[in-house]
Amino acid sequence: MKAFFKTALAAATLLGLFAGSAQAAPAPKVRVALIVESTVDDKGWCQSMHDAILAVQKKMGAGAMEYSHSEKMKPVDAGSAARQYASKGFDIIICHGAQYKNLVDEMAGVFPNTTFAYGTSANIGAKNVFTYTPFSEETGYLNGIIAGMVTKTGKIGNVGPVDGGDAARYIRGFQLGVQAANPKAAIRLAFTGSFGDFVKAGELAQTQLKDGADVLTGAAQQAIGALRAVAAAPAGIWWVGQDTAQLSIPEGSRVLAASGYNYASVVENLIAKRAAGTKGGESLPMQFSNGGFHFEYNAKADAKVLTPAVKKAVDKAREDLKSGKLKLDWKAVKL
């Protein structure tokens, strides 16, 4: 009998302990890691994802989300970083760039319980791999409308990195926007052949300026080099940007408007899908309609340049894109 009481008491104590621990257990913390090839303060590609993750972390609360990042990771180096994160139990590892595709494919097989994501890509990967695709033709279209309506010389410069990825979509969307607003305008498009050669982007912008272009745009992190050339040019030369961070730098006085990727929607989507049991196997689109982009005018821009008519045309196009009334066939644009 004594032994029975002892056993019952021990069982009750254990049950109480488990019950107590179950009540006190905090909500599971999601652990997110980011791997980028540049830096998280590059005023461009990498910073936009970093800022988005921080925004989501702030929204969720630091206790609900852990975030860590690795910078300057060439695809050959990134493997060790991804392996470290996965081994430490990170839930979601975002490799921000299409160049990480092979790495992600390899790691996804080694760590099947970890969710990997990379972009921009529309590929449907393994069951634990998400991709994300900005439909950048939409942001290009809005910037193209501004450029087409603002130009006085009828020449518009576009500083391209390479004709691939979301830059290819942005460039073609920009062409469509200019044609819609000002069919007579000539677009001076050229490529540097690099995403990060700031000097060459500046040289190309100077070449376009010399040719008479008075509104310029450009994609990728190298675009800052072109924006510097615009800022050093005489008054009356304008820039429309593909990153809203460009509005807040000293050269921002020449930026009429800028669009930006809202990766927060991607990050939130990744977390929500994983929580719901989907670890990958999907491509997540980024559009105005799903909050994938944001767009800002320069509040300090000269109202004689960025006129109400320009804003009205851009706002209408943005609403049409959001509602699905306007569809852009960017693939039909031949350069």
Binding site: G157, A190, G193, V199, T207, E251
Partner: protein, 316 residues
């Protein structure tokens, strides 16, 4: 647009595009003439670009702001000379392999500049930089005025350095010593020339000019800094020394040819000429390779002891 205006635009842009390459290659020429090839030129340019940017950036809101560019250039020259001394220590005193040491210096300069930039500045930001100064009278000359006399002060300096370097190399006793230690160091040694000292001096001068080339990129061309700013231009400068057959005038020709090709391919794309851009961006580099291949006999004109460490105690 008329063909004449197109050529004018290409040439107007080619001159400022050539300056960084010209400065770095003129400096590298002193290194190679003294018998040492410095593949670390690119890394020195990175540090020069960083300090050229950093000094005026730091002085922006101080009473020294007006001297920011000048002090930045001074800092770039100084860091370049210092890195030249480091390279000399490794390759001349310790007689390490010049190729490997050069690659090490390149990585050191690139990494250090990027790290310091992240620590002291952070994100990408710009400086006012150096503005163009039209030379009164000369800038009004039709065609030539715009091509040659409407640039920033460093461009004029670089162009004036071509005859200055030629004079220094061919018309001064020091230049003769540099050429002697690069061609036949043992003979120079027997004539009482201190081979190591001359090589140290040449590497210091070459480093300083590479630092200046970097400062040109950050102060005059991009007016900003990023750790990828130099983007391999130091290696092109090393190739231009071979291209220019170790002569300042030849180097000027090479730098201009490369920049004209660069300016032409960019203009060609802007004019809308239907040509795959992938090939267009290759054009300047292909041109350099082709000319180097065709001019392979030029090697005979170069310093015969290039790349060989000198040890006076060693017998053949």
């Amino acid at each position: 647009m008329s063909a004449g205006l197109m050529i004018y635009n290409v040439l107007c842009l080619a001159v400022p595009f050539s300056v960084a390459l010209l400065l770095a290659a003129l400096g590298e020429n002193f290194n190679q003439r003294a018998g040492v090839f410095n593949l670390g030129c690119d890394g020195i340019m990175c540090m020069g670009a960083f300090l050229g940017f950093m000094v005026p950036f730091s002085l922006k809101a101080t009473p020294w702001a007006a001297y920011g560019n000048l002090l930045g250039i001074g800092a770039a020259l100084a860091v370049g000379a210092a890195m030249g001394v480091v390279f000399a220590l490794v390759t001349v005193t310790f007689r390490a392999s010049q190729g490997i040491a050069g690659i090490g210096l390149q990585m050191l300069g690139w990494g250090l500049a990027g790290t310091l930039f992240r620590h002291f500045v952070g994100g990408v930001t710009g400086v006012e930089g150096m503005a163009a100064i039209a030379i009164p009278g000369l800038s009004k000359i039709p065609f030539l005025g715009g091509v040659l006399f409407n640039h920033n002060a460093l461009t004029y300096t670089a162009l004036l350095l071509v005859p200055a370097c030629w004079f220094l190399l061919y018309k001064t006793p020091w230049g003769l010593k540099v050429r002697a230690v690069g061609t036949h160091p043992r003979a120079a040694d027997t004539m009482g020339i201190h081979v190591d000292r001359i090589r140290y001096q040449a590497l210091m001068l070459g480093g300083a000019m590479a630092g200046l080339a970097g400062a040109y990129l950050s102060l005059c061309q991009a007016k900003m800094f990023s750790d990828d700013l130099v983007a391999g231009r130091g290696f092109i400068a090393v190739a231009l020394v071979y291209f220019g057959r170790w002569s300042p005038l030849g180097i000027l020709g090479g730098a201009l040819l490369f920049s004209i090709a660069q300016s032409f391919q960019l203009s060609m794309q802007v004019w809308g000429i239907k040509f795959p851009y992938e090939f267009a961006v290759m054009l300047p580099y292909v041109l350099v390779i082709v000319v180097l291949a065709l001019a392979r006999k030029a090697r005979q004109l170069g310093p015969t002891d290039l790349g060989k460490p000198y040890n006076r105690e060693m017998r053949f």
